[in-house]
């Protein structure tokens, strides 16, 4: 775990430095000359990584089955767009003290607001989750995601079913991967801390966890709130990347996409779901020609995985440290 967090910190530092020096992180990126198409896929991959890693706290580490991640993403997307697009002028005016950095400042602020709104929504879903388990929880979260979508659809000020266009394109590769790395780092260090063992304990056995003095209620709600916060950030990034959001884009199918990433990557394995999120984004693009067969391919992939590696791509390894010499030992 020590080595892994070092790598994460290093990656984070590189991202930050490249960003600080140029203001345009992608300019400092080694692949400065990559074409636009690849750039777009890499941005989508980064957003998917945030979604998968954040859902993994709830579904993987804490063992609560949530099917409503797209709903949190929608809250983040619309919440941030409400600042930069709907009230852009007024917000920019109040940030005028930032000078030419005002649009960027507003973008960052809007991401945070979107994340916080999503976290509030996470709190609202986390509370019923205390009483429900397994399939029942999945149904409630699914319903919750749909409620959010339908509410947006019927809110004219948010564009209703037509969606919201003209969102400024602030999201760059650097921003996306900066947030990705932050979320990987936050989730990783949260779960690997002494405090974070509580999530794993709740997943393994709730009664035993209570018997250890763990407040299982608080852990479950925390998982939902933290997961929703990062999903909200992903939503904000997405909105400012695509520039146009519709309620349809955050349907149940989007939640399923993220669940597939988590299952493929391995419940509870941050590295695994990161790899799966990137891989599936590229697979999605590769299958763009054969759109109608996309879901078939995903299903096949899941079936093959269930047969060959039921614990997921990198799941079940636990801490990689366990396999390092000196600690494992033969047993």
């Amino acid at each position: 775990m020590g080595a892994r967090s070092l790598v994460l910190i290093a990656a984070l530092a590189v991202g930050l430095v490249s960003f600080c020096f140029t203001g345009h992180p992608e300019a400092a990126w080694p692949l400065a000359q990559i074409d636009d198409y690849l750039l777009n896929i890499l941005i989508l991959a980064g957003i998917n990584v945030i979604l998968a890693v954040s859902l993994n706290i709830v579904n993987g580490h804490t063992g609560q089955f949530s099917l409503g991640h797209a709903g949190f993403m929608a809250v983040g997307a619309y919440g941030s767009a409400a600042l930069t697009q709907l009230n852009g002028k007024a917000c920019l005016a109040s940030l005028s003290f930032l000078g030419s950095a005002a649009p960027l400042g507003l973008f960052v602020l809007s991401l945070l607001v979107g994340g916080l709104l999503a976290a509030l929504a996470g709190l609202a879903v986390g509370l019923p989750s205390l009483r429900l388990k397994g399939d029942y929880l999945a149904i409630v979260t699914l319903g919750f995601g749909e409620i959010i979508r339908v509410m947006i659809q019927n809110t004219e000020s948010l564009g209703g079913a037509r969606g919201l266009a003209g969102i400024p394109n602030h999201t760059t590769l650097g921003w996306t991967w900066l947030v990705s790395l932050i979320s990987i780092y936050c989730v990783g260090s949260l779960v690997n801390s002494t405090y974070g063992r509580g999530f794993l304990a709740v997943r393994d056995d709730e009664i035993a966890a209570e018997a250890m003095g763990i407040n299982t209620t608080r852990y479950k709600v925390t998982a939902f709130v933290v997961g929703a916060f990062f999903a909200g950030l992903a939503g904000g990034l997405y909105a400012h990347f695509i520039g146009y959001v519709t309620p349809e884009g955050f349907s149940f199918l989007k939640s399923v996409d993220v669940v597939v990433m988590v299952i493929l990557g391995g419940m509870g394995s941050t590295a695994g779901v990161t790899v799966a999120a990137i891989g599936l984004t590229f697979l999605n693009e590769a299958l763009r020609e054969a759109e109608q067969y996309r879901m078939v391919a995903f299903a096949l992939l899941l079936i093959i995985l269930m047969i060959t590696r039921p614990q997921g791509l990198l799941g079940g390894l636990g801490g990689l440290a366990r396999w390092l010499p000196g600690k494992g030992g033969k047993s």
Partner: protein, 235 residues
Amino acid sequence: MLELLNVTAGYGSITALHGVSLRVEKGTIVTLVGANGAGKSTTLRAISGLLPVREGKVLFEGKELTNKRPHQIVACGLAHVPEGRMIFSNLTVLENLQMGAYLRRDRAGIASDQEFVLETFPRLRERTWQQAGTLSGGEQQMLAIGRALMGRPRCLMLDEPSLGIAPLLVKTIFEKIVQVNRELGLTVLLVEQNAHLALEVSQFGYVLETGRILLSDRSEHLKTNPAVQAAYLGA
């Protein structure tokens, strides 16, 4: 130290405990024996907060614990090893033990208690990095007891530590329980199917039948009580 006053508890419309009263004195081992379904596990669950108490009181060291949340009750120094060895199967043996010390912040104390537990259960020391779910039943039971000790409780409630374990290992586990009781002055409330063994190691016993306390006496008297012998000792 631990006292139940007329505790009533149950599941849904079923009342499993009808006014159970019992006392556990500090530093002693007290056992609760009874047939299947008598309500032994239910009694422990009511004490540790896993099941709501409908009527009556639970007192621990003079403090009322009635209907506190389980994690609050653990924080008061009362640990429960539930029936069926609920270990964290995806964590390693060592991580399980560390979870036992979840509420503690004194690193030195935790380290020395971990050493004590590994000393007491050498089988666990050989397997500190093994995934707990892959331990044998007896090893899992040792882990469950060791993990509870890591919280340094002042009172330990054990539910059927001998369940599904080979007789030789059962003997070892009971020796360890007595050893911990002597060395740490740990108070133990023991629920056990094997009444022979339970009355052997304990000083005081209660006999529970269909949710009521039928008899209570010093263990050596219960052992020679004809009714107990007929019903629970197979004599």
